[in-house]
Symmetry: C2
Subunit: 332 residues, 2 copies
DNA sequence: ATTATTTCTGCAAGCGCTTGCAGAAATAAA
DNA sequence: TTTATTTCTGCAAGCGCTTGCAGAAATAAT
């Protein structure tokens, strides 16, 4: 293993000097710098991350804490984070909490103790207070897919209200005035925000939004099936379903189709997320694209920015989803 | 930050002693051990991984190099690896190579330079020789989803021949004698092995396997569509399709359905992998379950085992896939 | 009781890198 | 030319943990 010392000897300077040119944090005269760089190239020196992390009292990795990588959404998120980190020369340590809040929080604490200053956390259930505590402790902690006003500039999330709004607008524009909602029973803000956003436009169109049909279930394919059944029990008047996410949308479509209703002719369905599944199902699902990769990219930059001296990304920022038109909504 | 020193002071012993009880590698008298453990508990001490890695000249993390986490297969693999590692108290660093072989290999080299002794590599395209080189350099390198005889005991993969065999048997048992293959155009052994396995049983059933219908394409949904089109151009006699994986199977089903052929009444389809998509599509896909999580678990244990003194997992081992019966194959 | 063994524990050096401090060298000012 | 500044560079300590070595303590053997 090539160390600073080897390079220093070859270049005829001290290790401090080499360190300085490597880290670039301090001024080194041009001539010496050249010598050192030549030596580095010649030896193929690569800094030892562990030693560096130890001396710097921090890790060169960023931590990603996420519920379940085997779900397409989080897998895509992780891929985005890794790719973005990679470009900046930092590596990613991933914790998979298997959906349990407490695991998430513990994972964060472990990362902290391991010296991580940069942590991306996707945790939508636990108390805000706990997250605020963590944030106070770790300046480089970025919260993903959840918004907490007090730390707005450290939240990387999608504008769910606008998303719901856009989805409903599209439905309305295509003359579906009787919209039913299939939403998640998770106690998180997203589903409410989306419905809220939808109701805003609906109200503008003169629709009474007080007794909209709403069915809650798990945000999964099966949940979608259950929810649509509940809807069906309550009424048979709706002509469109605005689903919390693609999984629920697909579940609903499947269930509906299994019962002989034609989509989109009899009932239109719109999803949210734009995961692979939305192109696979039949009819292909019209859905709101969730810009996961952009968000992942932004999140790692934000985290790194937060722990660097010169902050450039300071302001709060919500990502706007985008309508992807496919075939699950009947058009005028 | 609590360090060894703090614990040592509290326990009234030297740091070496604390180190020894923490690492458990050396004998410490029961009484002292108790004292130290009490002190550790009291202080909430957590070893600094960086210092440890530096002193040990190795990392406590294992590295996972995988093509693309946003694909369900690899996401599941990663989740399995992380979970398994977690249970053993080691963390996982993931590299996402975005499908480029060279990235994969570079990622491995970088990990090596960073002091990783345990690396799980999923690389199915590059030259065997390169992988063998890497293996020689890193004793804890485990190859996933690919088999190379020279390092058989370090390969964690599925028995593709048996898998193909089982899939074909199921088709045959249900009286589909005219089987067409949709396979991957990747230059890897898996697709050949699966077809090879299938042909073995077919031959046993007296079928001439020399001019089987075979269409190659990318191992994706679109690839499946293309491939089935190619098949259709060549013949209209086959009554069953054995697809390389679920994605291709679903693509094929979609394309077929779009052209009005009923599945499984007119054509049966069987997939491979048992990803989420296979339960989503209609009809739900009968497929061979790929025991990814078990394999992930085995791989991390194997890697750790390889770098530990007492080896226990030495022998070569292939995982056997399992038929998951759903609705895409018509039954007798 | 004395010596030989065995078992523990602490010392101190070292893993590779960073950085405050101070002296050397170069440049500017007087 | 001398003195004051500024710019570089090296020294050495330190980040937290591990471990070979040797001395101390405990146990066994004589």
């Amino acid at each position: 293993m090539i160390t600073l010392k080897h390079v220093a000897e070859l270049a005829g300077v001290s290790t401090s000097t080499v360190s300085r040119v490597v880290s670039g944090k301090d001024v080194v005269s041009k001539s010496v710098k050249d010598k050192v760089e030549k030596a580095i190239k010649k030896t193929g020196y690569i800094p030892n991350v562990n030693a560096r992390a130890l001396a710097n009292k921090n890790s060169t990795s960023i931590g990603l804490v996420t519920p379940d990588l085997s779900l397409a959404f989080f897998g895509t998120l992780a891929a985005g984070v890794i790719d973005a980190a990679d470009e900046l020369g930092v590596t990613v340590d991933i914790c998979n909490s298997r959906g349990k809040d407490q695991n998430n929080l513990n994972a964060v604490k472990t990362l902290i103790k391991r010296g991580f200053n940069n942590i991306l956390l996707d945790e939508s259930h636990c108390d805000e207070s706990k997250i605020l505590e963590l944030c106070a402790e770790v300046p480089g902690l970025v919260l993903m897919n959840r918004f907490i006003p007090q730390i707005a500039e450290r939240c990387v999330c999608v504008d769910n209200v606008t998303g719901g709004n856009m989805a409903a607008s599209y439905l309305l524009d295509n003359l579906h005035n009787n919209i039913a909602f299939i939403t998640s029973n998770s106690e998180i803000a997203d589903p409410f925000d989306r419905i809220h956003g939808a109701k805003i436009v609906m109200a503008k169109h003169g629709i009474d939004t007080n007794n909209c049909l709403v069915a809650q279930a798990a945000p999964t394919i099966d949940g979608g099936k259950q929810a649509v059944l509940e809807l069906l029990n309550k009424s048979d008047e709706f002509t469109a379903i605005l689903a919390y996410n693609d999984n629920m949308a697909v579940g609903a479509m499947n269930e509906l189709q299994d019962r002989g209703v034609r989509i989109p002719d009899e009932i239109s369905v719109i999803g949210f997320d734009d995961l692979a599944i939305s192109t696979v199902c039949r009819p292909a699902l019209t859905t709101m694209h969730y810009p996961i990769r952009e968000m992942a990219d932004y999140a790692v930059k934000l985290s790194l920015d937060l722990t660097s001296s010169k902050k450039t990304l300071g302001t709060s920022h919500k990502f706007i989803p985008k309508l992807i038109e496919r075939s699950s909504v009947s058009k005028i």
